[in-house]
């Protein structure tokens, strides 16, 4: 039973899509960490609006990326979280951690 999750890049934004559970976050964590260490700009974004389902593991994934970004002296900001994830954030008392990092929703740039 492998859940489907994927990452794609759109400029300075890492787009997460699919199902985030205790298995699928493993490879996403590593791919995101590589991006943060290599090509990600000093201020970069994660967009989870295309996540169809997330367990708490999705929050752990974001926390892990935030730590990687800090180690690289980069700022990872978050696009507004889907309702379910926002609920998990509230339940876990992580508003104070995530709140200041939420960036405005941004229309995706027109394809060149």
């Amino acid at each position: 039973m492998t859940a489907q999750a994927s990452l794609s890049l759109q400029g300075d934004t890492l787009i997460v899509a699919g199902v985030l559970d205790h298995e699928s976050v493993l490879s996403l964590e590593a791919q995101g960490a590589t991006w943060l260490a290599d090509t990600a700009p000093a201020t970069c974004y994660a967009d989870l609006t295309q996540v169809s389902y997330s367990s708490s593991a999705g929050i752990a994934l974001l926390l892990s990326w935030l730590r990687h970004a800090q180690q690289q002296h980069k700022t990872l900001r978050l696009r507004p979280l889907p309702t379910k994830l926002a609920g998990l954030v509230r339940l876990s008392g992580l508003d104070e951690v995530f709140g200041p990092l939420i960036a405005e929703a941004k229309a995706p740039p027109a394809k060149a």
Binding site: H22, S56, R90, S92, L94
Partner: protein, 273 residues
């Protein structure tokens, strides 16, 4: 009267029969557990409420009947399939059952270590998140012997939800708690159910707390379902046995005594002619 299967139900039990010794604990029972809802099971002591949770969890097998969880018939699964299904089930046992040689942290981390390949750092995040949700993030380094009864119950709850189960079963969550912690726990159960998108089953004697959070109630006695409905429906029923249970009377139509030999026999006396 059998209800057809529905996608709205996480669990459907049909014609369940299970016996202990000469007695049917369940004698042809049908139940539905609606997805995303809190369903409560109430009934006198010894009627089989804990047994029902063990049947759903696959620790016991019925004589006949089906217990479908997401379409999979639990009694027919092999060990490997059961192991996979149990990952979707969180259980808060009647006895609490923390591992006494592990700290609060170690207890909550345990299922993640057994069932996932997550790195330690992410395990830590998840444990802290769940401990925070039950108000025990600051108690992570305590040992179970250092916890109050209510704290131990909440630590066990954090462990039960750490894998984000689809189903959470609570066996007598309110027992041994003062009224304030009962109320807090009830609100927490409701909050978890909504935020985690869980389906919850609560076994409880506590009519007031249970009715305050349950979406649907079943009352079982003598191997049968004697009442069911929303809390409001059950509370206003005319049925004498259900009313007696709800009012908590010790005598009346539902027998207080476990079936026994005659008292004389037990006492080694001749029956009085």
């Amino acid at each position: 009267m059998t209800t057809p299967p529905s996608a709205d139900n996480l669990i459907e039990i049909r014609n369940l029969r299970f016996g202990r010794g000469e007695r049917w604990i369940f004698d042809g029972v049908d139940m539905n557990f609606a997805r995303g809802k809190i369903t409560a099971i109430m009934g006198p002591s010894g009627t089989g409420k804990t047994t029902l949770l063990r049947l759903i969890g696959g620790q016991l097998r019925p004589e006949s009947g089906s217990i479908a969880l997401d379409g999979q018939n639990i009694p027919q699964l092999n060990r490997q399939e059961l192991f996979a299904v149990r990952r979707k089930i969180g259980m808060l046992f009647q006895s609490g059952a923390l591992f006494t040689d592990l700290s609060v942290y170690g207890n909550v981390a345990f299922p993640l270590r057994v069932h996932t390949h997550l790195p330690e750092r992410m395990i830590q995040d998840l444990v802290l998140m769940k401990l925070h949700a039950v108000g025990l993030r600051g108690a992570r380094d305590l040992m179970p012997s250092e916890l109050s009864g209510g704290m131990a119950r909440r630590a066990a709850l954090a462990r039960a939800i750490v894998l984000d189960p689809a189903l959470l079963m609570y066996d007598e969550p309110f027992v041994g708690q003062d009224p304030i912690s009962k109320g807090m726990l009830a609100q927490l159960i409701r909050l978890l159910n909504e935020t985690l998108g869980l389906t919850s089953i609560i076994v409880s004697h506590d009519v007031k707390e249970t009715a305050s959070i349950a979406d649907y109630l079943y009352i079982i006695a003598d191997g049968k379902i004697i009442g069911q409905g929303t809390p409001a429906q059950v509370m206003s029923t005319e049925d004498a046995r259900v009313r007696q249970f709800i009012r908590g009377l010790a005598d009346g139509p539902v027998p207080f005594h476990y079936p026994a030999r005659s008292y004389q026999q037990d006492l080694g006396l001749e029956p009085v002619p």
